[in-house]
Amino acid sequence: MATSILIVDDEFGLAQMLREMLRESGYEVRLAINGRLALQILDEAEVDVVLTDMMMPVMDGAELATAIRTADKHRSTPIILMTSLPTAVLRLDGLFDAVLRKPFAPELLLGTIVSCLKGEDARVTARSSREEH
């Protein structure tokens, strides 16, 4: 069974491009345009990695990560934050396994996903929030 990735991003074009790119790399990909819809998908399906934006309508990336970390089902699912902002201005509180600053190279994203799936410390490849704090 293919590894399943959930992309959570309200930027239409970016989300579409990421989905195509990850599908071509062999992943099964679902899309949600905000945190609340992402939680619905997480309730209904198995997801191996969550790839989320920070600023979104309805429920943002930090609220989504908090909800995931406090629920039983996906508590340990790796969450990668994609953001246009420097993480220094965000209060991340260790919610994310890795942080990618937009724009990023596709290889960096793919490498970060692999590292997270292996349970490796993804900070080396993608500058985690913990490192920047």
């Binding site: 309200d10 930027e11 239409f12 920070m54 309508p57 201005v89």
Partner: protein, 494 residues
């Protein structure tokens, strides 16, 4: 607007010139369309307003619809001083709205916007890419309904809304214009090879904006708007009597001061009209040097010769004291490049300099500098008139130069329309041939409400300063360039 009334509280955009045009800013719960072609500055205007709003303690939500990605937008805005990353996401929040629009239509977009305003307590909302909402609408009525819902939302939440959309032209009928409180139109066009940006208020409910086109510039500070200068200068009451009966301001050339019966009237405006090289600039600098000698504050405002070059020239020809005046803070030299300027900015710079430094004397070297910076030549007479009235109101005695086109013309024409009427005094300088010699000649052509000596004098530039000679006594036809003396030539200095 279906009975909804925008709050009369003004929310400044924080863009100074724009707020002046808008009578202080946007209405509290007003809905505004900001339109223009791509690249006109709509996104910068909206973002700048958001960050200025945040700096004042407000909260803004910026919704994009098939516009550039947020990371790309941040990269472009990052070089601008107003862009403050630390205000994101707590005070300025960016969301993409196109996914909701594509999935659920305009109703979905309204729901998304309503939720974002409430969640982030937004008092300013930007929807960037209104054209996408319009194109997604199955009918014109649906789109109007969407706008109506946005208005209702703005009213309920006391949120100011900016809707950004691409249009090429300002004229024509746009149904959406009837649904909003204001329409700002931005343009970016070429005048010959010079890029010109303008902003125009097409509509503004509940306000009396400054109408017409206003200059706009995009710099590292963001959008800078300069209201059309003729709409705001010269509004004060002029006291012609004060000018007519004010004390005399000598130029420090005894012969010329005698011709002027003691000097120029305080607060008056004097044109030095002449051909290139006829001595206009040096005469103007002599006027300033005399001011410095009397411990008055003086300003040089020019476009062509750089201040350091002109000061060096003055020293070479014996017009002394100006460099020292600059060092002592009595003289201020203001120089603008004659190309790529914006006439409204030049006028603003001039008036700000006079209003802040409060000089007794101003020498404006090269009135044509304003003309070269004009976006529309037909504005010039209004601009000159407004600047002249403002200078009079500020009480500064002004001397300016303007250049005649030909060196040896028989008739004298003022090259710029509208100048003479705004000028009390005219002094002509020109070259003439006299006894097979080229000479500089000076004559007073006009002194409003005052006596003067109308004789023509030779103006000589020496190492010891300017000198006026009574070379043409008894000669006739001097003004036409072919004066023949009826008496032996006089060479004595006056």
């Amino acid at each position: 607007m279906s009975g909804s009334r925008p709050s009369s509280e003004r929310r400044p955009t924080g863009i100074e010139g724009l707020d002046r045009i808008l009578e202080g800013g946007l209405l509290g719960s007003g809905v505004y369309i900001v339109q223009g072609p791509p690249g006109a500055g709509k996104t910068i205007l909206a973002n700048q307003t958001c960050f200025n709003h945040a700096a004042a303690g407000g909260h803004a939500v910026y919704v994009t619809l098939l516009a550039e990605s947020h990371s790309r937008m941040f990269a472009h805005l990052g070089r601008m001083t107003f862009f403050n990353e630390s205000a994101i996401p707590d005070h300025v929040y960016y969301i993409g709205g196109y996914s909701a629009l594509a999935a659920e239509g305009l109703d979905g977009l309204v729901t998304l916007i309503r939720g974002a305003i409430q969640k982030h307590k937004a008092t300013l909302l930007v929807v960037d890419g209104l054209i996408s909402a319009q194109e997604s609408s199955p009918t014109e009525r649906e789109f109007k309904k969407f706008l109506h819902e946005i208005q209702t939302l703005a009213d309920l939440t006391d949120c100011t809304v900016l809707l950004l959309t691409n249009v090429q032209r300002a004229s024509g009928f746009f149904p959406e214009h009837t649904m909003v409180d204001g329409v700002l139109h931005l343009t970016d066009e070429l005048s010959e090879l010079r890029p010109l940006r303008h902003i125009r208020v097409l509509k503004l409910r509940g306000s009396a904006p400054i109408r017409g086109l206003h200059s706009m510039r995009i710099t590292d500070q963001g959008l800078e708007v300069t209201p059309r200068i003729e709409t705001r200068l010269g509004q004060g009451v002029l006291n012609e009597a004060e000018v007519a009966w004010g004390p005399k301001v000598p130029l420090g050339l005894d012969a010329l001061d005698e011709m002027l019966r003691g000097g120029l009237r305080s607060g008056s405006i004097t044109m030095l009209l002449g051909s290139s090289g006829s001595g206009k600039t040096l005469l103007g600098m002599q006027f300033l040097a005399e001011g410095v000698r009397r411990r008055e504050r003086v300003v040089y405002f020019g476009f062509y010769e750089r201040p350091e070059a002109i000061l060096a020239k003055c020293q070479r020809v014996g017009i002394g004291g100006l460099k020292e005046g600059v060092e002592q803070g009595l003289a201020r030299m203001v120089w603008h490049r004659p190309v790529e300027g914006v006439i409204d900015e030049l006028g603003e710079s001039l008036i700000q300099t006079i209003a802040s430094f409060r000089p007794q004397r101003l020498f404006l070297d090269g009135m044509e500098g304003f003309k070269r910076a004009a976006d529309f030549p037909e504005r010039m007479s209004h601009v000159y008139s407004a600047i002249a009235q403002e200078l009079e109101r500020l009480g500064v005695t002004t001397v300016y130069t303007t250049e005649t086109r030909a060196l040896f013309e028989k008739t004298i024409e003022v090259p710029i329309n509208g100048l003479s009427a705004a000028t009390q005094n005219i002094v002509v300088l020109r070259h003439i041939e006299h006894h097979a010699t080229m000479l500089r000649v000076l004559a007073i052509l006009k002194i409003r409400d005052g006596d003067y000596d109308a004789r023509m004098r030779e103006l000589r530039i020496t190492d010891d300063g300017l000198q006026l000679l009574d070379t043409f006594a008894g000669a006739s036809g001097v003004a036409s360039g072919g004066g023949v003396s009826n008496e032996p030539r006089m060479t004595g200095l006056e």
